[in-house]
Symmetry: C2
Subunit: 201 residues, 2 copies
Amino acid sequence: MRSKGAGAAGPIERLVDALARLPGLGPRSARRAALALLRHRESLLDPLALAIEDTRRSVHACRRCGNLDTTDPCRICTDATRDAGLVCVVEHVADLWAIERAGAWRGHYHVLGGTLSALSQVGPEQLAVAPLLARVATGDVREVVLALNVTVDGQTTAHYLAEQLAAFPISVTRLAQGVPLGGELDHLDDGTLTAALRQRR
Amino acid sequence: MRSKGAGAAGPIERLVDALARLPGLGPRSARRAALALLRHRESLLDPLALAIEDTRRSVHACRRCGNLDTTDPCRICTDATRDAGLVCVVEHVADLWAIERAGAWRGHYHVLGGTLSALSQVGPEQLAVAPLLARVATGDVREVVLALNVTVDGQTTAHYLAEQLAAFPISVTRLAQGVPLGGELDHLDDGTLTAALRQRR
């Protein structure tokens, strides 16, 4: 373990290793984070330990939509002020959070858990596709918004889902593509510019 | 808490908050890290929880040198193969780890806990200066290497310590300054080049 932090004791090693596995933290920043935790026990280490214990005990995936919450079904699925007839399909919970932060959606969600990917051998059975079709089959859904990332895999998945959903008497829509707020035309890629021109209103 | 991740439950919020306080993680990467922890409980969340509990319980600062270890005095201070007459003074435990990784030091250490800083109002009494002088006063130390960062505060602190240590019959040395391994002269700052020229061998 010399490469990680020789001179560090076993538990510190393991803390550095566990932190280094998080996205966004390499071995070097994991060491810095571990040292910060050790130097500021009351303000950093204890709150993190508590939050992790709380999370482990009380947070679960919503069996209905895949959102993470302390209740199942989650608070979004049980929120009477939301329209259950509108379902926004996202790849990950992070996307659901992003849309919730924007505050522009008052419908429900469906977390797919990823995208179809030939390279990573992810097929429909690895994603929450069947549960989505089952939700739609109940007849309670009027519109499905495919809010997948504008990547090759995201758009392939959206295309696949649109085909699967074509059998049902519902609207299937996608997010508009175009110039982001504050976006300068000069700095936009050609694909975005083309899409923004083609979908002009 | 809308800005952090509305739709997320309380414990997730608190996990994101606790992670966002770590150096190197902003609110956005803290959210990604929290979601990764929640999605990979066995491989990420459980090992991190365990490592944190272990660390809280068993890691302490060495009363002699300030290193972090499961024993006190630490394993470096009690290592009979090391020369206790040589003491390497560093700002933080991270620096001690860096020197240990290099594997080029077989003496002991002394962790100052920072540098003198007029701006941040850090004086000698906020650092482990008195314990260093006390260690030297025992007569067991032959040489003190001031391995402080080559920053204004680091060098001010080294200068101050050198003055304090001048009263003792020991050598006080500093790390050599010069061209780093793999360093291209073309890309070096003037100060480093000047130092490398002046200290040429």
